[in-house]
Symmetry: C2
DNA sequence: CTTATATCAGTATAAAATTATTGATATATA
DNA sequence: TATATATCAATAATTTTATACTGATATAAG
């Protein structure tokens, strides 16, 4: 496999999204410059990104076949095989994630939630049961859960992360704004809204100054 | 202002978070290498990042004063002045965002929500009223709303974004997985969960292969 | 008080990512 | 069918970002 950069990885879902919407409106082929224009990227970047994951070459003048391109990106991103996940911490955000329908198209299947709050345990959110955090190990095995979606309060995030690792989780999608110190055999990806907001505010300030 | 990179901007909230937790546990000064170690970064990177925003210099052997550092980062990120925001689209995620307490510390104040669903209009979420999307212009002015937090369905995102711009919004924090074509006077920052998940899955796969 | 050293600031180097360039070619158009 | 051109792949140049190095200095330890 050729090396793919983090930045590239971030772009593929964006391409995919756009291509899917194009296909819905009946388009059957597209060129890199056209994609670039639609997504405000450079054509070189788009071409390189697509070259990396696409099995067939693009054709001058006509571009690439959309169906093939979609299939190749989905394949590359692993959307074609299902990964089971669980939400850890069934608060507002946790529940919103459990209710989110869109994960299915990413191959992510949220099978259940975990919490310590006894008033939540045994309830269902979007038809997915909420279990006690202390049944983690058995449920992870039982449901073949690979990814933990961590949405606990800050204070308990590290402790719960340790529990997850002990219970055999291989990847943590961390929505808690805390740096987790974790065995580097485990994949950790942080969703940091504060970082995103910092960029927005910075841009807002700059545009205001112009 | 010296130039700051996107990557750096993303890191400041992470530093801040860590420093706040340190201060809570009574620590009063910290060195760049110590921060680097705690957050799994390189000491050079941390030092450069801090140099950029810190008004006072660090001292060999003892490092930097935590209170000062926290204050400088907060100042730099604009956390000390309040920016009013509104949630556009009061679904599961929109409600979760309206309920999220953490934005206050970022200087972001969600004042209300907007939706087109008449069963939502007039209700309150976390004590913030939900207005009709068609009252956008007047409310934006009335409440001095600067940032729109966009959480609509895909299909309507672009159309609503246009309405927001017409109504005078200066920044859009876009949670919808759609590329918005917007006047570049407006700051747009995309929160793309699919991108984040793509990175996680890629790492998961790589670690599995090792 | 003196010395050793951790940390600093500033600069230089290296790595990563993006953008530009070049020559080739498949297709649309005449 | 011939020609012009949009797009391609591959490579080179540039820019951005991260890391390493150097000499200076404030503090801890003796």
């Amino acid at each position: 496999m050729e090396k793919v950069s983090i930045r590239q990885l971030e772009r593929y879902p964006i391409y995919l999204n756009y291509l899917l919407s194009l296909r819905e409106s009946g388009v059957s082929s597209i060129s890199s410059p056209a994609i670039a224009k639609a997504l405000s990227l450079s054509e070189e970047q788009v071409r390189k990104d697509l070259q990396l994951v696409s099995r067939s070459e693009g054709k001058p003048k006509s571009g690439r076949n959309i169906d093939e391109l979609i299939s190749d990106i989905q394949e590359f991103l692993g959307y074609k095989k299902v990964t089971n996940a669980a939400v850890i911490g069934v608060g507002h955000l946790g529940q919103a994630l459990m209710n989110y329908k869109g994960f299915a198209e990413f191959g992510l299947n949220i099978v259940c939630g975990f919490d310590v709050d006894s008033s939540l345990i045994g309830t269902k959110v979007n038809n997915k049961e909420v279990f006690s955090l202390y049944s983690l190990s058995s449920k992870i095995e039982q449901f073949d859960i690979k990814v933990a979606i961590l949405v606990t309060p800050k204070e308990s995030a590290q402790e719960v992360a340790n529990m997850l690792v002990n219970a055999g989780i291989k990847a943590i999608w961390n929505f808690v704004p805390v740096h987790l110190n974790i065995n580097d055999k485990i994949a950790v990806e942080n969703v940091n809204l504060a970082s995103s907001l910092a960029i927005l505010e910075h841009n807002l300030k700059q545009k205001g100054d112009e």
